[in-house]
Amino acid sequence: MSALVTVENLTRVFDVSKPWLNRVIEGHPKLFLTAVDDVSFSIPKGKTFALVGESGSGKSTIAKMIVGLVRPTSGRIAFDGTDMAGIGTDAASRRLRSRFQMIFQDPYASLNPRMRVGDIIAEPLRTFGLETDRAAVSARVSELLRLVKLDPRDSVKFPHEFSGGQRQRIAIARALAGRPEFIVCDEPTSALDVSVQAQILNLMRDLQEEFGLTYLFISHNLAVVRHMASEVGVLYLGRLVETAPTRQLFAAPSHPYTRMLLESVPDIGMTGRARMPPSGEIPNPINPPAGCHYHPRCPLVREECRRQRPPVVTVGADRVMCFAAGEPR
C-alpha cells in the first residue's frame, strides 16, 4: 500500500522570547519551545492515522504544518510524492491545495459569521475555479449539503442559526467541496456533545468509505481514536513516543506513557478494574526533562533515560521510543 502523506523528521521550534527591549533591560535570554521534535510517520491511502496527546504534545502544530499554516523548522512533508515546502498561492500550488483539506475543533470559530452557508461552502469551489457558473455552484452546494445530511435550503442561512453539530456538518461540506483526497481533522468532535459526536463520527466514516478519503485524526480522546483510526501515534512533549496499529496499541501498549494514558481512561464499562491514578504532571514544554521527556514520571526509569534520548525500536508492527522496549515485564 502506498503512502499518501509522508512526514519525515518534522521539527518546529517556536521563539517564545520576550520582546527585544525587555530581554535587553531585564537580562532574559532568548527562549525557544520545541513544539514538534523530529517526528516521522506516513499515512497510507484510504486509512486513518490518529495522533493522540495531551496539552503541549504538539499534535495541533503537526496538523498546521501539514496543511501549510505553519512552516516547519526542519524536516519534510510529502503529499503523494510532492514536497510541500514552499507551497504558495500560485496555480500549481492551488492544484495541490485542492487535494487536501482540514476540519477544525471549534465549529463556532471555523465558519465566518458574516457569510451565508452557501457562500461558505462555495469558497473552495470559487478559489480553485472548479465551478464558475452560478447555477453549477449552487447545484454543487445543494449536493454537498445533502451529503452531510442538511437541507439544501439551509444555504441561505447564516452560521448562527445552526447548532454546534450542524455547524460541524457545514464545515465538513466545505472541506469536501474541492473533492480532496486527504483531510486533517483537528479534534473534530471535542467541542461537541456525545450524541452529536456519534453523528459526526459516523458521518466521517461513511464519507471515508464513499470517497476513499485519507484522514489524519487528531484527538485527546482515546475512545474516539480507537473507534476511528487504523494506526495511532502517541505524542508526548513534541516527540512521537509510540506508533502502532490501533488494535495492537490498545491491546498491548509498549511505551510506559501510552500505558498510563490508557490507564487513565475512565472505566465506563464499569468492569470494576482497579485503577492506579497516574503520577506526576506534564512538565513545562519550554524546559522539558533531559533524556527521555517521560523519565520523571516513568515507573521503569533507569540511568540512561535521564541522560539520553531513547532510540526508536521496532517491536513487531510497533515503533517505540523507549530504552525498555521489547524487554519482557
Binding site: E54, D193, Q197, Q199, P266, I268
Partner: protein, 326 residues
C-alpha cells in the same frame, strides 16, 4: 430509609427575555443522602449546571428560581435573604468550578485565601487556621504544602490549581459539595488524579457531592447515583450501575450507545437523530418525543411523570415496555 440531606423539589429556573420567560430547568426533583455522590449528567443546554447554580444561589440574572424548593436538612435555602445564603455557601455547601482560575483570586496567595475562608467559617485563630490550610493542601495531594501556601494561583499548574480549589471547597467541612465539570478543562491523565482526590476526600469526610458533568466516564467512576437531564428535565435517575448498564429511558439508552467504548471497537456508533431543542422550542408532551424512535400519541400529548422501575425512576410513558422481564 435515611433522611435526605438536600432535597430539591419541583425546581424551576427561568430566564426573562424580551420574548417572555424561557424555562431552563423544569420541575427537577431529587434527594441527596449524606455521604452520597450524585451525578447530574446531560448534554450542553440540558440545565445541569443551572440546577447546581440554583441550589447554591448563584444564578446569574436574568435567570431566577421561578418555582419549587431546595431544602438543606429540612430548612429551605432557596428563598432566604442573600446574606443568609452567603453563610450557607462555603460553610454548608462548597463549590468546585470547571475553571479553577475563576474561583481563585489572582491577587492573593493560596495560603491567604485558604486561611481567610477557614476563619470566616470556623472559630480558629490565625495560627490554627494556617495549620489547617497546610493539612488541607496535604490532603488534596499538593507536595511541599507548607511552602506552596506562599504561592499565587498562577504559579500552580491546572491540575494543582484544581486541587487547591477542592481544598478551598472543603475548608469549612461543608455537608455538600457541588462540583460543576471539575475535570473538563484538564488533561486526561490529570482528570483521573482529580477524580481520585475528590472521591477519596468526600468519602473520608462523609461529604455529599453533586457532580455536574457531561462525561459519562467520570460519572461511572465516581457517582453512587446518577440523574440524567434532557431539555431541563430529569428523564431518569437511579443507581449508577443500573443507569449505565441497563438504561431504560430511550434518551439514556441513546446517550450510552453513542459513547465510543474504549475497550471494544463497535463498527458504527448508535446515534440519536437531531439535536436537543432550544429553550424556546421545547416540544409538548415528552421533550424527547421528536427524536424518539418509540414515540406514540401519548408522548406528544402528555408530559410523562416519574415512575419507579426497578431501582430507578424514569420519566417515560413507555418505560415498562423497555424492561426485559427478568
Amino acid at each position: 430509609m435515611s433522611e435526605a440531606l438536600l432535597k430539591v423539589q419541583d425546581l424551576v429556573v427561568e430566564f426573562e427575555t424580551r420574548r417572555g420567560p424561557l424555562r431552563a430547568v423544569d420541575r427537577v426533583s431529587f434527594d441527596l443522602k449524606p455521604g452520597e455522590v450524585l451525578g447530574l449528567v446531560g448534554e450542553s443546554g440540558a440545565g445541569k449546571s443551572l440546577t447546581g447554580a440554583a441550589i447554591i444561589g448563584l444564578l446569574e440574572p436574568p435567570g431566577h428560581i421561578a418555582g419549587g424548593s431546595v431544602s438543606l436538612k429540612g430548612e429551605r435555602i432557596d428563598n432566604i435573604p442573600r446574606e443568609a445564603m452567603r453563610k450557607v455557601r462555603g460553610k454548608r455547601i462548597g463549590m468546585v468550578f470547571q475553571d479553577p482560575l475563576t474561583s481563585l483570586n489572582p491577587l492573593y496567595t493560596v495560603g491567604e485565601q485558604l486561611t481567610e475562608t477557614i476563619r470566616t467559617h470556623l472559630p480558629l485563630n490565625q495560627a490554627e487556621a494556617r495549620q489547617r490550610a497546610v493539612d488541607l493542601l496535604v490532603e488534596v495531594g499538593i507536595p511541599a504544602a507548607e511552602k506552596r501556601l506562599e504561592s499565587y494561583p498562577h504559579e500552580f499548574s491546572g491540575g494543582m490549581r484544581q486541587r487547591v480549589v477542592i481544598a478551598l471547597a472543603l475548608a469549612a467541612e461543608p455537608e455538600v459539595v457541588i462540583a460543576d465539570e471539575p475535570t473538563t478543562a484538564l488533561d486526561v491523565s490529570v482528570q483521573a488524579q482529580i477524580i481520585a482526590v475528590l472521591k477519596r476526600l468526600c468519602a473520608e469526610k462523609g461529604t455529599a457531592v453533586i457532580l455536574v458533568t457531561h462525561d459519562m466516564g467520570v460519572i461511572a467512576e465516581t457517582a453512587d447515583r446518577v440523574a440524567v437531564m434532557y431539555a431541563g428535565r430529569i428523564v431518569e435517575i437511579g443507581p449508577v450501575r443500573d443507569v449505565i448498564k441497563t438504561p431504560i429511558h430511550p434518551y439514556t439508552r441513546g446517550l450510552m450507545g453513542s459513547i465510543p467504548d474504549p475497550s471494544g471497537e463497535a463498527e458504527r456508533l448508535l446515534q440519536i437523530p437531531g439535536a436537543m431543542p432550544r429553550l424556546n422550542a421545547i416540544p409538548a408532551g415528552c421533550a424527547f418525543n421528536p427524536r424518539c424512535a418509540f414515540a406514540e400519541d401519548i408522548c406528544r400529548a402528555e408530559r410523562p411523570q416519574m415512575r419507579r422501575i426497578g431501582a430507578s425512576d424514569v420519566a417515560c410513558h413507555l418505560a415498562e415496555t423497555f424492561v426485559r422481564p427478568a
